[in-house]
């Protein structure tokens, strides 16, 4: 039997825009297996980021249920969701989203601090992951002193610090040039292949889709394709 990490059942997400209700996601059913590499492909405005938010415990659906590791997370409190994110989800964003006041190593260590990892230990771990993404010589640099590609690698290192069940990346190469983007994808690929991590990437870039084992196509808030390659 397949080991399912994330499952959605009839998930809908509406946004109220003034007096108009926007149905961003409509009746989404999907399953993501442990250790799989999934790409959610769709145009801008298709609802793919909203879907990512729901399956990564950043948000809750308007209707339907989301199961994470067998647990229904659709109606959890903000703090319970934060707990799941902190322990089980690693995030990589298009905008890198690093804390500008902290150095690279402190940025990587921050998620571990919320899980109560002791200072020395988390700094040690953070350095290990920074070395892994090839930034061992950049640990004390602030984000402003790093290139876009370097910042995104810091973000990847940060996503791994709590040894998450899944790494979710929202357009991870959207803000870097194609060569740097390639490097980042290499790292993500390695995470999947060598460490067996579950990876979910949201993108509109079909080149990235080529890396995936499963491609979920989304259009106007509905799944229009769900193919295993």
């Amino acid at each position: 039997m397949k080991d399912i990490l994330i499952k959605t059942e009839g998930v809908c997400k509406d946004y109220l825009l003034g007096k108009v209700t926007l149905h961003v996601l409509k009746n989404i059913d999907l399953e993501i297996e442990k250790g799989s590499f999934t790409v959610i492909l769709g145009q801008s405005g298709s609802g793919k980021s909203t879907l990512l938010n729901l399956i990564s415990a950043l948000d809750v659906p308007t209707k339907g249920r989301v199961f994470f590791d067998g647990k229904d997370i659709s109606s959890l409190s903000p703090d319970q969701l934060a707990d799941i994110r902190g322990k089980k989800v690693g995030f990589v964003f298009q905008q890198f989203n690093l804390l500008q006041q902290l150095t690279a190593i402190e940025n990587v260590a921050t998620p571990a601090s919320f899980q109560g990892m002791p200072y020395e230990k988390r700094m040690e771990e953070a350095e290990k992951f920074l070395k892994m993404v090839g930034l061992g010589d950049r640990v004390d640099h602030r984000p402003m002193e790093l290139s876009g590609g370097e910042q995104q690698r810091v973000a990847v290192a940060r996503s791994l610090i709590n040894d998450p069940e899944v790494v979710v990346a929202d357009e991870p190469t959207g803000n870097v040039d194609s060569k740097t983007g390639g490097k980042i994808l290499d790292i993500v690929k390695k995470l999947h292949k060598e460490q067996g991590r579950t990876i979910i990437v949201v993108t509109h870039d079909t080149n990235i889709a080529d890396l995936a084992e499963r491609i979920i196509n989304i259009k106007d808030g509905e799944i229009v394709g769900n193919n295993v390659r």
Partner: protein, 404 residues
Amino acid sequence: MIFREYFRLAIRNIKARTLRSWLTVLGIIVGVFLVSGLFSLSEGMKEAVMRELRMMGGDIIMVMPGDMTDMVTMLIGGMDFSDSDLRAIERTRGVDVIVPFTWKAEMVRYEGESKNILISGLPVHEGTPILRDDMGWTTVEGEWISPGRREVLVGNLVPIELLPGLRAGDRIFISGRPYDVSGVLRSIGNRQDDSMIVMDLDEFYTVTGVRDGAQAPMVKIGPGEDPQDVAQALRDNLEETRKRRGDADSPGFSVITADAAYEMVSAVIGIIQIVVVGLASIAIIVGALGIMNTMYTSVYERTKEIGILKAVGAKRRDIVSVFLLEAGMIGLAGGIGGLILGLGSVQFVELYAQFHPLFYFEAYISVYLILFSLFFAILVGCLSGFLPALRAANLNPVDSLRSE
């Protein structure tokens, strides 16, 4: 501990907005400066006044005109105790010595200069030991008055403000009669007493034309007597005397033991202190509003950062902690600055007092005052940071991440 990153985040956030942070800190500095400074100042003054009162031995009882509940009549009351009153006081059981204190303004001439100065008369023979030993009066220059001589003692402000250059051994003329200045008194602590000329009661009667009576008789009780009992007996006797004299209409009087005087003054200064420090606290409230304003702006500007922290697992209390720490640190910085400024200026007043004969003052600075001020400043910071922190904690992570 998570504390280290919180701390670093807070420090760097404060640093990132240097000017705004300093202005906010300044608001608290002003508040703490006023509160700690005024408290220290008033406490120091209270101590100074109390020290004067403590010099008055426990076996001294003052009889003053006017009702004790009515400070004004008490202080400006006229010649209220007649000779028969004084005899009644003297006869009272437990009374050892009576010193009828009395005063009147007279023209005093020294080296061509004439001033209207308050002259105080007291029986030198009985009075000197009481003033010296029970009230703690001392001379800074010269000697006490020798009985039988036409000598006077002058308050320490007399040579400074009224008759410049006057020294012990000089001669002055009071209502035209010559007197030698035997000595200059050390400051007693209040302006009126320090500007007075003291002479023997008989001389006083001669110079002023006053025939008898006194304004404020002072009594020393015998050894082993209870001040409260003697005070009560004094009250009864005086009332009795006045009733017999058919003088029921004469204004009231107060019999004040050293303890009662101490309590009364302490209470008055306490009220003044509360009012002064209370008013100064308004400045702290204004400072607190400043912190609140800064923190709300900060939450608004750092919405994205809050979103990031939440995305990577920060719970509401983590976010609250980050912002409270920041607000608390602004408070603490303001507290330290305010204390330095407040206690520094009180020290300055103390230094000034040491060189100025006008008043005695010792700054009140204690570990408790410092700890309390710092604790209070941090508390003010945290309290004013609490609502902004709560707003930050309640932000939705998805919306926060989307903000720029």
